[in-house]
């Protein structure tokens, strides 16, 4: 099952920033990284990704640099120190949030006799 739009929308920034956590990537690779890391559950459309990248750059969370090696013009993005801080902040918040929701949901899930999904936060 893919996730509802609302769920995904709220964490797009976080997803892109975390994709860049291990080093610079360009748009196409960012998209690929997110898709793979999410087990193919999050498929970020290019029409959403690129405006988002530009927004993040405008806000100073990431910076870009053009690279023409290999005959292909590519715009590489990497986290700025601000971006890294934001990522750490938000990731921490998300972790708390997920635990909180899980605590709230467990009794409800039991009542409905639905088996909780595998923990998505374990890596």
């Amino acid at each position: 099952m893919t996730f509802g739009r609302d769920l995904v929308r709220g964490s797009l920034d976080l997803m892109v920033l975390s994709a860049l956590a291990e080093g610079p990537l360009y748009g196409y690779l960012i998209q690929k990284r997110i898709r793979e890391a999410s087990g193919n559950l999050v498929r970020l459309q290019a029409g959403t990704l690129y405006p988002l990248l530009h927004k993040l750059e405008a806000n100073g969370a990431i910076e870009s640099r053009w690279d023409n090696t290999g005959g292909r013009d590519r715009k590489w993005y990497e986290l700025t120190s601000t971006g890294r801080r934001t990522l750490q902040d938000q990731a921490g918040q998300w972790h708390e949030y997920v635990n909180c929701i899980r605590r709230l949901l467990n009794p409800a899930l039991e009542a409905l006799e639905v088996a909780p999904q595998a923990d998505p936060t374990t890596t």
Binding site: R5, Y28, Y50, P51
Partner: protein, 449 residues
């Protein structure tokens, strides 16, 4: 072959992007790279070149909408540039008009989220008190949609007057009085506001000689003449609030905002008809939420685009339990009411006639006059269903109908798809051409349903 398609898409996108040439080229370069890589990947996976090209383009969506997404960032940067190059006249007018307003609420940007919302009266009817986003300006009252009194007045303004015959030298106030008598309506003129634009009771209207015109048309012509006679410093406009026709300067009217609540439950995708299996509540709730989101997006793009928070500073729109809560000036609210109404008619028509019938354009509403544009809904599901054919149709319309006038922030025209219906905002000429084109397409394709 695919390069050509990519290039024409990127060229179209560039045209829409509100960036410097350098930035536009950079965006095009970046996206081109992505398209090429995607194309390679798809070819490797066994897609034909045509399929792969189409898929690569589909990923980006409609060029105008995409440019709009980029534009949201650009606007913030440009706002900074604009204020530093602002003309003196604008600043002066603002100062002048704000002097006029005793409460100084109109054009001086108020701090966001003022507690003026508490002054708002409770909504009429059984609607639950909505979680209203606190007003940015002084709120007047929360009204469900357009009040009945106002609707009656607006209807009355459409009555046809057989003769209008006034000689040159007839004063403004005299013609207003005549309209009062003819329409039997309360008409109030904000003379102090007008005085600032050199308009007063005795301003020469230049006379009028018309036959069989609606009262609202007479009024609009009158306001144009008076404004011109006074040197065109300030445009005049009219609106209906609390059952009274108010005449004032366009700026002053535009500045007053009001909160309105619209019930949109009936416009969202419902569960299947009672006779069929009940739809999974989760899915239908998600579908309705998505519809609501799309509806809000649609309204923001077609009604006073650019004025909506967070990018704009005039209006805001929120959803609460199937209710749309909108803060904006009267004109925008009037357009929204009209748009929602058109959608209702389209939906009703669909249920009766089935797909294949384009909604006959509704009568022009006075509110659209100022910009000369109006929003209309067309049912095109008989030949454009699904994302890529919708986008293809949108591209076709932009290229064929008044090309060059379609922009993402809608300074002239916008195209949106809502619930698979085509919603277009443009002037009458464009709509007429569009209708002809749609009819022609249907004729060529033959009866399909």
């Amino acid at each position: 072959m695919s390069e050509r398609e990519f290039e024409s898409y990127l060229r179209l996108l560039s045209r829409f992007l509100k960036f410097s040439t350098e930035q536009r080229e950079a965006v095009a370069r970046e996206l081109r790279g992505h398209m090429e890589e995607r194309l390679e990947e798809l070819l490797e996976r066994g897609y034909t070149r045509d399929e792969a090209t189409q898929l690569a383009l589909d990923e980006f969506g409609d060029a105008a909408i995409l440019a709009n997404q980029f534009g949201r960032i650009g606007r913030r940067r440009r706002w900074i540039m604009r204020t530093t190059t602002a003309t003196v006249t604008i600043a002066a007018t603002i100062l002048l008009v704000s002097f006029l307003m005793p409460e100084r609420r109109a054009l001086v940007p108020a701090p966001p989220f003022s507690m003026a919302a508490e002054q708002a009266r409770k909504p009429a009817g059984d609607a639950p008190a909505p979680a209203v986003q606190p007003a940015r300006r002084q709120t007047r009252e929360i009204t469900p949609g357009e009040s009945e009194a106002d609707k009656r007045v607006l209807e009355q303004m459409k009555i046809v007057l057989p003769t209008v015959d006034f000689a040159e030298g007839t004063g403004f106030a005299e013609l207003v009085e005549w309209l009062r008598v003819q329409t039997k309506l309360s008409i109030d003129v904000n003379w102090p506001a007008l005085a600032l634009g050199n308009m007063e009771r005795n301003t020469d209207t230049g006379g009028m000689s018309l036959r069989d015109v609606k009262a609202e048309t007479v009024l609009e012509i009158l306001l144009d003449k008076v404004s011109a006679a006074a040197g065109g410093v300030a445009a005049l406009d009219w609106q209906v609030t609390d059952g009274v026709v108010r005449i004032s300067t366009a700026d002053q009217l535009k500045a007053r905002t009001v909160v309105r609540v619209y019930d949109c439950q009936d416009l969202l995708r419902q569960a299947a008809s009672p006779s069929t299996m009940p739809v999974d509540p989760q899915t239908s709730a998600a579908a309705r939420a998505e519809d609501m989101e799309n509806l809000i997006e649609l309204i923001k793009n077609t009604v006073e685009p650019g004025s909506w928070a967070p990018d704009g500073t005039v209006g805001s729109i929120s959803e609460y339990d199937g209710l749309l809560v909108v803060l904006h000036n009267w004109r925008a609210q009037h357009q929204i009411a009209g748009l929602l109404n058109d959608m209702r008619q389209a939906k009703a028509a669909r249920n009766v006639e089935g797909a294949g019938a384009a909604t006959r354009p509704a009568a022009d509403r006075g509110a659209a006059r100022r910009d000369q544009t109006v929003s209309r809904i067309y049912d095109v599901r008989d030949f454009a269903e699904g994302n890529s054919s919708q986008q293809a149709l949108a591209r076709l319309i932009r290229d064929q109908i008044e090309p060059g006038t379609w922009t993402p922030d809608g300074s002239t025209g916008t195209i949106d798809f809502w619930n698979d219906r085509l919603v277009v905002r443009h002037d009458e000429t464009a709509h007429r051409r569009l209708l002809n084109m749609l009819d022609a397409i249907r004729e060529i394709r033959g009866p399909s349903r």
